[in-house]
Structure formats: C-alpha cells, structure tokens
C-alpha cells in the first residue's frame, strides 16, 4: 500500500464485524462485538459512502468502483478517485473493510 492510501487496483471486502443497516432514514455501519451490536460506535454514511460500501464485494477493484461512481453520480473521474480513496482509508481505519489478496472470481 502506498503512503497516500491503497492503489486503485486493490480489492476490498466488507469486514464481517461491520454490518450496514438502513435505520431511521440513515445508512449506518453497526459494529458487531462478541455479544451483539455495539451501538456506542455507530457510523453514518452519506449517499456516496453508502454506494461505495455496497460495491465493496471482495471482487471489484477500486478502479471499477470509481467507474461506477462516475456514471452514477456524474462526477469528474479525479473527484471520484479522491472520494473513493479517502473513503476506503477511513473504512480501513475503523476496520470496516479488509484487503482481499486473491479476489473471488
């Protein structure tokens, strides 16, 4: 991984310890601990974040997700790349995603 963040060729999967739920008109990341949901550590995702979260399927590389962002939200590619990389860096920080070494076919 480069010091600026993961390369666009990297593939990430949603961590098992983090579950996405749409509750009260918001999309939340709910950490799962040994005995249930840790509701003291919920995270809220906006529309773009939710879209990226749903694409992190352990198969699609970052470049594919950036393409999807460009076509879905009609943003410049550079902006989409920057958003994607910063979002994934935040997810890595809270251990919500894991890098996949050999993506599933």
């Amino acid at each position: 991984m480069s010091p600026e963040g993961p390369p666009l060729s990297a593939v990430f999967a949603r961590a098992e310890r983090m579950v996405g739920r749409r509750i009260a008109d918001q999309f939340l990341l709910v950490p799962i601990v040994s005995r249930g949901a840790d509701v003291d550590s919920l995270y809220n995702l906006n529309r773009v974040g939710t879209f990226i979260w749903e694409q992190l399927d352990g198969r699609t590389p970052g470049s594919g997700i950036v393409e999807a962002l460009v076509s879905r939200f009609a943003v410049e590619r550079a902006q989409a790349e920057a958003d994607y990389l910063s979002f994934v860096a935040s997810l890595l920080e809270i251990q919500a995603v894991e890098a996949v070494k050999t993506p599933a076919p």
Binding site: I23, V39, S41, G49
Partner: protein, 136 residues
C-alpha cells in the same frame, strides 16, 4: 466527502436504532450514562442488553419512556401475560416510573447480571406504602 461519521443519536432515533439492532442482532452493547442505577450500574460501565431473554421481576431492563430510553429495574409486571402495566424504577430514585406497556420494554441487561429481587421488592413496597399514605 463520503467519510463515515460517528453517530450521535437523538432520543427518537436512538429508540429506532436500538429496537432495530435488538431485533436484528439479538443483543446490543453500550455504555451506561447517568447514575440512577448505582452501585449496580456505574456511569460509563459497559452493559449487554438482550432481546432474547424474557424480562423477569428484579431484572434491569431497557425501557422506552416519554423522556427517552432508560435502564431501570423491573419491579412489577403482569403475572400471567405480557398485557397490562409494567412498572420500573431507578435504584436511586424515590418513586416508580410511569406505567409501561410490554412493547416499551425493549430488552434485559444480561451482562453484568442484573437481577435483584430484594431491591425490586423494596421499591414496590415503598411505592405501596406511599400510595397508602396518600389515600389515608
């Protein structure tokens, strides 16, 4: 920016989030705020509330009250069914909370174990005594 933002819940959203998490995951884990259940539950202590365990007399339960969510002790519940009035009280509070319906009792504290029938009995007896005093 699309970074995940730590969520601070207002009281209405908290009810919905906790109810959904209890339903979907069976249990929730959070830190106590406030001191009305001391020394049993201290401010900042972590508790696990489960929706899988049927609330019993003496348990500390997570309830929805008019002023938000509370972790209080269950001091009275209907004997033979869930229908009817449920009564709770904070261990350090002088009186019982307003009567609740079964749907307002969201879960039971299972860790740390929360049962204290003696405390529940004392609270109920004190409430009955006050009521008798009011009527006399």
């Amino acid at each position: 920016m699309s970074a995940p933002v730590p969520l601070t819940l207002g009281s209405e959203a908290a009810v919905e989030v906790l109810s959904t998490c209890l339903r979907d995951f069976g249990a929730v884990h959070f830190r106590v705020t406030g001191g009305c259940m001391e020394p049993r539950l201290r401010e900042g202590q972590e508790v696990v509330v489960s929706a899988r365990r049927r609330p019993r007399w003496g348990d500390v339960v997570l309830v929805r009250q008019a002023n938000g969510l509370r972790l209080h002790r269950l001091v009275a519940r209907p004997l033979f069914s869930a229908a009817g009035r449920w009564r709770t009280q904070g261990d350090r509070l002088p009186g019982l909370d307003a009567p609740l319906a079964a749907r307002d009792v969201l879960g039971t504290v299972v860790d740390p174990p929360s049962r204290s029938r003696m405390r529940a009995l004392r609270a109920l007896a004190a409430a009955a005594w006050r009521r008798m005093g009011t009527r006399a």
